[in-house]
């Protein structure tokens, strides 16, 4: 297979490392077991470039475990998968180079300033000083963060931090960004603004893979999968899911499926 060493951070040459051109995420019978416990049970799905893919499920359904496998943080027990064209069981470091990740737990450095966090993460993804500086200026302008630039991240309000964490996770222009419950604990207006940033990222060709517990956010996704007890029980666009389950909203769809769960949230 030929991979251009450029793997540019700014453009997504079609098939940059890919066996498939448009399928950015492919999961085939992906399974993760911890001892006797099967956290993720044989899941298969595909995500296309530029899509916003919602990954729903009750607590303990296996969402985070599945996401960690796709990010190369956890090696699948069986099954296979590719992300950005790289095997998640074998080429974990190449997967990592081509994705962004924003965890549930806020994970920028509180004791570094806003620009310093951006510089750090830009730098470790291989961006050059000049590139980082230019993009930082641009980002500060877009986010209206010019006054916060020199503040320690720890001193910012949660909504600011989340927007910053998301912007940092896509700063190196990854092919896919994985968001694990990115909007926990903030008000609806802040969440709305956050989703504007997500839409903006898709317009640049970045694929979004997002887990959430907010059903209004599920409505914003192009397609939604719902996990119950480690398995994917439903996968379609919100519109089709509502039709299929004869529900008036996504909340109703989710309730119908999640009620079948036998696992108790640990």
């Amino acid at each position: 297979m030929t991979i251009s060493t450029k793997t540019s951070n700014y453009t997504h040459p079609s098939g940059a490392g890919g066996l498939s051109t448009e399928k950015v995420i492919i999961a085939e019978q992906l399974t993760k077991k911890f001892g006797n416990f099967t956290a993720v049970d044989n899941i298969s799905f595909e995500v296309e470039r530029g899509e916003i893919f919602g990954f729903l499920g009750a607590n303990g359904a296996g969402k985070t475990t599945a996401m960690r496998m796709l990010c190369g943080l956890s090696i699948p027990t069986s099954g296979k998968g590719t992300v950005a064209g790289f095997d998640i069981g074998v080429q974990t470091e190449l997967v990592k180079k081509n994705i962004g990740y924003m965890s549930q737990k806020f994970s920028l450095y509180d004791d570094l300033k806003v620009w310093e966090n951006i510089e750090l993460f830009g730098g470790i993804y291989g961006m050059k000083d000049k590139e980082i500086k230019e993009k930082t200026d641009e980002l500060m302008h877009i986010l209206n963060f010019e006054n916060e630039r020199n503040k320690l991240v720890g001193s910012l309000p949660l909504g600011f931090k989340q927007k910053l964490a998301f912007s940092v996770s896509i700063f190196h222009n990854p092919q896919v960004v994985f968001l694990d419950e990115p909007t926990g604990g903030v008000d609806p207006i802040t969440r709305r603004r956050f989703w504007e940033l997500i839409y903006d990222a898709t317009s640049r060709g970045i694929t979004i893979f997002v887990t959430t517990h907010y059903m209004d956010e599920a409505e914003y996704c192009d397609r939604v999968s719902i996990m119950v007890d480690g398995r994917i029980e439903a996968l379609d666009s919100p519109k089709n899911l509502k039709k299929q389950f004869e529900a008036k909203n996504m909340d109703d769809v989710f309730q119908q499926l999640a009620r079948k769960a036998k696992r108790v949230d640990s």
Binding site: L73, S74, V90, Q91, T92, S103, D111, I124
Partner: protein
């Protein structure tokens, strides 16, 4: 899982800029270090505390021993002997007991450490040249203190004896009775047996170990607890680069600390190494890598700060006990010497004491040099191997 055959697993051709992450990670580490409210102060205060307090407190020189005298004779000579003991500065007279039983009681009550019993007819026997006897008993619960106290007291009594002889015997007789073999002792490298000369270089090793071994362990586990470690794990930063970025700041800290140590040793104790500073810096550079590597290994296995602390305490305790800081390795049993051989502290302490006291150069300490290089390579390889970016 079967590996997918046709996928190229050698990602070397994509590792074009991998090493550049180091620059950014180092900037991060140094900024975090300087902004920390506690660490920069610790780096300066800790060496002062240790080097200014311990050498005075941790001394084998025994002073202020409490003595209980049982004087059954009540004579001039018995009073002179008691006076001589008190005026020696080593002893403090707790009480003059009427009998041995009472004196023993004061030992049991921890009021005195030694008993000197002067028998009746003490003076008479001396004057009649029948040879007077005194009884010395000491509390050996603390064997060291008891033993040393006993030795001091015996030498004072001997001294008293010699003084009496000179007075009582005719001049001609002195040579006959007192001419014994004279032994000249000479203590090399520390002629005054100054305890601080021996302790200060070893304490510098302790400070380096605590700061450069303990802090890296804490620093990585802290990132695990904050969740920032996961953000690093999901990035393409190579394991060795991340660990190197953690090591280098402690290397710098180590050099600052040892330099502060030199200054304190010189300004307070007037100690300057007999050997070369460059020798110490060379060994320090290798030693810091060894202990920091160990710290990082510990942090890779510990999930929480609490766990990391306990493992660190375990290692520190064993390492300090087996380092020769207080008790010489040479007097340990064979198996204990083997344990000590696997202790980086022991080797570095030997180096520091040799350079400070004897002026040794690296060529005279190749054994320690290779041992420390071995530890540095071993712990750091282990650190890279045990750091897992995925499960």
């Amino acid at each position: 899982m079967k590996k997918i055959e046709n996928i190229d697993n050698s990602d070397s051709h994509l590792r074009v800029r991998d090493h550049s992450g180091l620059k950014y990670l180092l900037r991060k580490e140094f900024k975090q270090l300087i902004r920390n409210k506690f660490l920069p102060k610790l780096i300066f205060i800790f060496p002062f505390m240790v080097l200014m307090v311990f050498p005075w407190a941790a001394s084998y020189e025994i002073k202020n021993l409490n003595i209980s005298v049982v004087d059954n004779d009540h004579s001039t000579y018995s009073k002179q002997l008691t006076q001589k003991i008190i005026s020696s500065n080593y002893f403090r007279l707790t009480n003059v007991s009427p009998n041995y039983g009472k004196a023993l009681k004061s030992i049991e009550e921890n009021k005195s450490d030694l008993i000197l019993e002067i028998p009746t007819n003490f003076e008479k026997d001396i004057v009649n040249r029948q040879g007077a006897k005194v009884l010395i008993s000491s509390n050996a619960v603390n064997g060291m203190k008891g033993g040393i106290g006993m030795t001091y007291l015996v030498s004072i009594v001997n001294d008293f004896n010699v003084g009496l002889m000179q007075k009582l015997l005719p001049i001609a007789g002195i040579n006959n009775t007192l001419s014994t073999i004279q032994i000249d002792t000479q203590y090399r490298f520390n002629p005054h047996l100054n305890y601080r000369v021996f302790m200060v270089p070893a304490l510098m090793v302790m400070i380096l170990t605590l700061l450069c071994g303990f802090l890296p362990a804490v620093s990585i586990v802290f990132e695990k607890e904050l969740g920032t470690m996961e953000q690093i794990n999901v990035s393409p930063v190579p394991k060795s680069i991340f660990i190197l970025a953690k090591l280098i700041p402690f290397w710098v800290i180590g050099f600052i600390v040892i330099t502060i140590g030199f200054l304190i040793a010189w300004s307070i104790y007037g100690l300057v190494p007999a050997g070369h500073f460059s020798t110490i810096y060379l060994f320090t550079a290798i030693y810091i890598l060894a202990v920091s590597g160990l710290g990082i290994v510990i942090s890779n296995y510990a999930a929480t700060l609490q766990q990391a602390m306990f493992i660190v305490f375990f290692f520190m305790l064993v390492y300090i006990m087996m380092s020769g800081l207080y008790t010489p390795i040479d007097s340990m049993p064979e198996w204990a010497k083997w344990i000590a051989a696997f202790n980086p502290l022991k080797h570095f302490m030997e180096v520091m004491r040799s350079v400070y006291l004897k002026g040794s150069n690296p060529m005279q300490m190749t054994k320690q040099l290779f041992a420390l290089i071995g530890f540095a390579v071993f712990f750091n390889s282990w650190a890279v191997l045990s750091y897992r970016k995925n499960q």
